[in-house]
Each structure stands twice: as C-alpha cells, then as structure tokens.
Subunit: 505 residues, 2 copies
C-alpha cells in the first residue's frame, strides 16, 4: 500500500484548506525533532465554513436510516484499516506510545465503530415509547439527533479518542455531523483520519459536511468553534482547565449548548489490611503495571492509594517500588505534559510530610520522566490541596492511615471521580459497606479488586462521573450509551405514518 | 374534616419556621384583598438548614428500595386528598383559576404521583445494563439518584407543578430529597402541600429532610438555594428571565449543576388552506378554547397562527373572534402577570402593521384582561422581535402569509419551542413534508390536527424542547421519563452482590 502524502491541512467538508497565516509543527517527543511539514492553524473563516457545511449536512443526515448510518460507520472502520501501518508509525512518531500500543488501540478504535453500527441497527438508541390507549392523543416519543457536534480530540489516545474516536463515532451514529478539532500533539495522525473519513463519506454517498477537521494550537480556534451558532453540542476529553473554559463558553452563548467534558481524575484506591495480607504480591504487580500503563497518561490511572499503616503495607509498597524501578522510563506525550509534571513534582517535593520513594527526577531522554512513587500520612494529605490534584504521568501517591475507619473521612472530602476502587477480602464486606456506599456517590465507576485502567467499550460501561471528573454527570463518553449525549427526545402527537416516514423527502 | 390552621411559615424538615424579618402576603387577584396571614421570607440560615437536612436525608433515601419509595408516594397522594376542599378553595382564592379547574388539577396531581409509584416499582427507570461475557470484567450499569434537588413551583399550576408537583414527585421517585421554593402567588396553597407532605413523611418513616418548603418573594432566596453546595440539580418552570438567571447561577458554582428550566414558548400553529376549507368551524372552536384555557396562562398556549391569506381565512378568524368575544374575561394569576401583559400590549399596539381584532383593553375586574386577538402580515412578523415573544394571557396573533411556502421561512427563524402544530388535510402531506421536517428540529412535541394545550402525563409525553423553551433539550418535565433528570449512571465493576444489596446497611 502506498503511503498517503500529507498536506499539513485542515479538511473542510472533504477539501484540504490552508488559508491561515499561523503555522505549527508536530514534534517527536523522543528526539525533539520537528515535523518537516508545517500545519496551518484553522482560521475563523475556515471554522465558519466547516460549521455551515455541518449544518447543511445535518439536514440530510437526520433523514438517513439507522441501516444507512450503520453501513457508513462500517466503511469508516474499513478506511481506517486501509491507512495501514502508516497510521501506527505516524502516531508513534508524534506521541511515542509505541507501535504495540497503537496496534491494540487501532483494534479498539475499529471495534467501537462496528459496535455503534450494530447498536443503531437494533434501533434501541431511539428509546421509542408509544402511548396508544387514548385514541384522541396518540403519542410516540423517540430520540432524534441533536445537531452538528464539535469534538475535541485528546493527546493521550490519538486513535480511540482522536478525531475519529468515541465522541465522533457516537455523534455520527446518532446522525450528527462532526466538526473535529485535532489535538496539536498529533496533527499528522489527525490528518490521516480525515483522509480515511473523507473516503468513507464519498463511498457512502454521505454529504461532504458530515465531517471536517480543524487543526490548531491556539485556544481561540477551539473557542470560535464552540461559539458557532450551528454547533449544538460539544464532546471534549482533556484537562480540567480546558473543559471548564469550554463549559463556561458554551453556557455564555445566546443559545447555551451542552458540553460533555471528561476532565480526568485521581482515581483513588482503598486497600484493606486483609487484602494486603492475602495477596500483596499479585496486587503489587497489578498496581505497578496500572500506574505506568501508557506512561501513566490514562485518565483512569490510579493516582492515590489509601492503606493501613502496618508492616505489611511497608513491604507491599516496597514491592511496587521494586517493580516500577525495573520498568523503563519513557517519553511523555509532549513538552507541555512534561513541563507541567516537572513543575508539580517540584512543588510536591517541597511539601513537609511527603516522602519520595522512587524516581521524581527527569530521565535522560527527551521529555521522559522517571517512574515515581510518593508517600505521606493522612493528615498531610487532607491538608494539602496539591496532593489532591491529578499528576498526569507515571506517578502515584501512597497515603498511610491509622485505621480503615479514616477512609470515610477521605471520601467525604473527595471531589467527583471517574473511578473509585476498593481492594478487600470477603471478611471485610460488612466493615467496608459504609465506605462502598459513600464512594458510590463520588464516582462514575466503582471497582472491586481490580485496577481502574482499561475502560472496556461495552453496553454497560460508564466513563463519566460527578464534577470535576466531567461537566455532565448524567453521561458517559465510553460505551454504547455514549450515543445518548447526541440525541434528544421529541414527542409526535397524532402524527400519521405518512408524515413520519421519509419516503416523501 | 377540620380545616388546617395555616401558620405563614416555611417548613424546614417538617418544622414550621419563621425566623426572618421580611414578610409578604397572598393577594386575591379577583378582589385585590390581602391574606390575613403574613408569610415569612426564608432566611439564608433557614435555606442552609433545609439543604443540610436534605443532604442527610439523601444518605437514607438513596438506600430505600423502589417499593419503599412507591409506597411513600402513594401516601403522599392520600395526604393530598386528605387536605380536602380547603386545598381547592385556597388555591382558587390565591390565583383565581376556578374550583372546577382545581378539582381537575388535583386529580392530575394525584394521578401523576401514583404513575411514578407504579413506574419505579417496575424498576425500568434504573435502565440497568449488565455485561457478563467477560468473567474478568463483569459490568453492571444502572442509574442512581443524583442528590438533593431544588424545585421552583410555578404560579399557573399551583397543584400539578407546585411544590408537590411533577418536579418534586419525579425527584422523590428517583430517591432525591427536595427543597422546594413555593411561588409567592400562592403561599397558602404551598403551605397546605407542605403539611400533607410532612404527614406522609411521618407515616412512611422517611427522614425529615426528605422535603422542605421555602417561602419567599425575593430573587436572593432562590439564588441562595441554587448556590447551596448540597443541591445537585434544579427543577424550574417559569419565565425566560428566571430560568436564564438560575442557569447562569448554577453554571457559575464551584461545582456546576444541571438546571432543568422549562421557560415557556409561543407554540406556533401552521394551517393549510385545505384544512380551513374543510373544517373551519371545528378548528375555530378548538382554537378559541385553547387560547383562553386557564385564562391563556398555559406554557403550551398557541400564541401565533400562520395561515394563507384568502377569504376562507378571514371568515375563519372572524369565527374565532366571535367565540372568544362570547367568553367571560377573567382575572389573571397575579398583578405581575397583569402588568407585564398590559405593557406588552401597549408596545405591540403601537407597531405599524399590527391590527387589533378584539379585546386588547383592560377589563373592569381586578387584574382581568380582555380576550384578545391580533393580526399582522408575514413581513411585519419577521421584522418585529416583539411579535415573537410569549404573551402570557388570553391573547393570540394571526399572521397572514401569501403562500404556504413561506412557512418554511418562518420556521427557519423560529426559536426553540415546547410545541409546534400543523393543521392539514391528507392531500397536503407531500407539500407540507418539508415544513414538518424543519419544524421537528425546533420543537419538543409536534402535533398534527390538535391543539397544544393539554399535556398528558404518560410514558411517551415530552414536555421540553430546544433553548429557549428549556435550558436542557435532552429532558422532559412531564411524563415518566421526567425522572431521568434526577438520576445519573454508575458502573459497578466486579462488585459482589453482598456489597451491592443494602442488607448490611
């Protein structure tokens, strides 16, 4: 297969567009090398054009059948596979997560597309309810697409949560055109996806405005997208600052729109004494692997572990440290992630009562960071706000507690989280029940005896949670019900089938 | 049955409370007479106490079974009936909608409570999804209550949308305690509901913080409620200004929360020439009744009619005018509604191109307003923003169009609406299809050949719509799915049944 020749462009309704004056480059985090190709920041005009095309496309897309959209999604998945190894190699060049990881992520990306295709084929997403008893008032309620959607791709999952990732695919499945803003860490990967998407749109005979890609590094580009009147909802995965600012912006519009921002989490883990006594070694391996997975750049990375202060815990922590020390230090996604982690570490190490167990220093490679473990006591943890923030990288904090009863105090102060985890033995059930019940109120997913990393794409998954984990506690960004974000109810009263069906369109 | 002796109080977790210095009175709109009893505006302390009690109550309520809550709701309905005729008489004294209307509204109020009881008994509202294929990752996703809810009662439905109305009942059904803010137009009616609710709470053995009632006339009272950290969602029905300001306030919180504000609508009606030719008389009666129902103070009142300019329309409009002229002029809900309608009418009558057909002047009774019809042409309508606003009262506007094709232009400019209606004959289906498809995008309920007033409480109802009809297009405030507003998903991963069930609570 011949490699696609990249253009450094935005793609506005299928057409490459480089009208702007501002350029930026992809940077290889392993080497610091700049991409040969310059990328053109989308202009306000280009954004407006993409949104207007999406608006027109919506008038066609909303009349497509579930079967037509399902077939289109399957073609999208085929065209992503048709990108071949070029996709994996470019993604690895841009964010350094390794070819093996991207091979797996591509499978996930295509599988989730096919799962949404199957899901809408069944029509369950329409959640149709019919009242017929009263012949005077026959009501049919169903969900219909909300309108054009703005999607912000992430840095840490360029495939599965990139410009053709879960947000885009669930919006398209719902019948909503997408204007995607690619993450500036991997513009080449985003461009490849746009090429695949455009081929699929052409093959399926879908309108060109079904998908546009905007490139850019500046905040104003995303802002102009969210403020465009044609946009009816926003999907975002990224930092707290980014999500908060899009949420505020969308609320300030003349017509406010929903922002589904998934903003990460510290994913606390609570461990009982019995669990440590029974299977410290197995857990140590699981935790070390989970903390360092994807160089610690998962939004579900377990960031803080609460455990009882006893000798078993000391041995247990030592074991985790040993395993993590044996793992290679790897480059972070990009310079911003690196700088922000270094700054946070400097601040944290200067705190009284916080002990550095391993790592904490910059590794010798470009943008690489040592696998790091910190330890503190409960009172220091409760006092220091800095310790409750997300450290995006291969780092975790242990908090020693005098007794498991103190876990309740921790949960009471906890912000909203994507996940919460409890490791325990059967004998703990009764004592841990109050913790379980309280933790439930703070999380989107509650895990027993398993690590939070690994967010399965399945009907029952919930990847969401109370603020600040997300800005929309009632929704998930992973799993089949993610489609609900881009649908809204309508009730047809006494509407004859001849008008409802689209054979006169 | 002995009448309940009212206290002029707030009810904080069951206890009457009058700690404030500010007082206000109920006013009989028919006579201008002030209530003997003074009502005490809730203080910031009282609001805080109610919210803290709701927070504590939530820790118990969220563990109740569906059956326990269903039984509780049935008791609430019984206790509302136990208020007897005092409820109807006081409501009529306060907002002058008539005893007959309140007798019907009480049936609706109690029926919707019993329907929610049946609905949660079935457990369908939990929307449980279970993935079991993968023994390593057993996922159970379900909806759980969101937390304490603030409910703002309305003026125009003191029973069905009052402090024990649809919002409160769907929140309680979900397992959420409610802090209700009563509308200042009917503080006595609200107090009666609080008495009934408190009896039900006691009979069911539910925690006292399950329900509190705040009285008040000042904006700051509602603001302090929405800003309280214990409140996790807001239900509101009322004016655009009120809904917008609560939405902005909730978005500005450190922890933003959803605001489900239903803010009314002009509910456009589009009529074809064939429909007028075929059944002008039947439609004239339906429209005259619908415009004047509840003295025109329904959020689904048809406010604007688009019809083709031909002789049939002139006769048709004349017929509606005749029927409406024959109807008694009645008092509006309160002085604010009256003043605002008078002001809007003055502004409208001064517009060039707008013709007053009937009414338009103040009637002789207190706060009464003449049944009013206005007429204009399409270009005036499209030009004048004033004509696109909601007139809350017995008033409607006819817009004559040169051809039905112009309806599309109207819909294109239309704001989001609770309802949209088309009157047509079978022969119009093909020609009207584009209008149907465009109108669908602007409304929460689309009606063929029927008036929009009359919002049935049923599984398939949707009472919502795109902004500015509501601030939450994905939700409904009437019908069984209204409960979704107060639920949010959680995913349990590998959680053993022993921990999930509450037998160790």
């Amino acid at each position: 297969m011949k490699d696609i020749i990249l253009k450094g462009a935005n793609y506005i309704g299928g057409n490459p567009s480089k009208n702007g004056d501002d350029i930026f480059y992809a940077i290889n985090p392993r080497t610091g090398e700049k991409s040969e190709l310059a990328y053109y920041e989308a202009t306000k005009d280009e954004i407006g054009k993409a949104c207007k095309l999406a608006h027109s496309a919506f008038n066609i897309l909303r009349k497509t059948t579930n079967e037509e959209r399902a077939k289109f999604l399957e073609i999208v998945s085929e065209e992503i596979m048709n990108l071949g190894d070029q996709l994996l190699e470019i993604a690895d060049w841009e964010v350094a997560l390794g070819l093996q990881r991207f091979t797996g992520e591509r499978v996930r990306t295509c599988n989730q597309i096919k799962m949404f295709a199957d899901y809408i084929r069944e029509g369950k997403h329409e959640e149709t309810i019919i009242d017929e008893e009263d012949p005077q008032t026959k009501l049919k309620r169903m969900l219909i697409p909300i309108g054009p959607v703005a999607v912000f791709g992430v840095s840490n999952f360029p495939l599965a949560f990139g410009v053709c990732g879960g947000d885009t695919v669930s919006a398209l499945a719902a019948g909503c055109p997408v204007v995607a803003k690619g993450h500036p860490s991997h513009p080449q990967t985003s461009e490849l996806f746009a090429v695949a998407m455009n081929k699929a749109i052409e093959r399926a005979g879908f309108p060109k405005g079904t998908f546009s890609l905007l490139q850019g590094v500046k905040n104003i580009t995303g802002k102009n997208l969210v403020l465009h009147s044609a946009i009816k909802a926003v999907g975002f995965t990224g930092s707290r600052g980014g999500g908060d600012s899009l949420f505020d912006l969308a609320a300030s519009r003349t017509n406010p729109i929903p922002v589904y921002a998934e903003m990460g989490s510290i994913n606390p883990v609570f461990i009982t004494k019995s669990a440590i006594n029974t299977r410290a070694d197995k857990m140590a391996q699981e935790f070390a692997d989970s903390i360092t997975l994807g160089v610690g750049q998962f939004c579900t990375k377990p960031g803080v572990f609460f455990l009882p202060a006893f000798e078993g815990s000391i041995r247990f922590i030592k074991k985790i440290a040993e395993i993590m020390n044996g793992k290679k230090n790897q480059s972070l996604l990009n310079g911003n992630v690196y700088k922000s982690l270094v700054k946070m570490m400097e601040e944290t190490q200067s705190l009284e009562g916080v002990e550095l167990l391993i790592g904490g220093k910059i590794a010798d490679q470009n943008f690489a960071f040592q696998n790091t473990l910190l330890k503190t006591d409960l009172s220091t943890y409760l006092k220091e706000e800095r310790l409750k923030m997300e450290y995006f990288g291969p780092l975790a904090l242990f908090v020693e507690c005098d007794s498991q009863d103190q876990y309740l105090e921790v949960v009471d102060q906890l912000d909203g989280q994507l996940t919460g985890t409890i490791y325990l033995e059967k004998e703990d059930y009764k004592a841990i029940k109050p913790l379980f019940n309280c933790l439930k109120e703070k999380v989107g997913r509650l895990i027993i005896n398993g690590v939070p990393t690994g967010v399965k794409v399945s009907p029952a998954m919930n990847h969401g949670g109370p603020y600040p984990a997300t800005t929309a506690v009632r929704t998930t960004s992973v799993g089949m019900t993610a489609i609900q974000r881009f649908l809204r109810p309508i009730c047809y009263q006494n509407v004859p089938e001849d008008l409802l069906c689209d054979n006169t369109k």
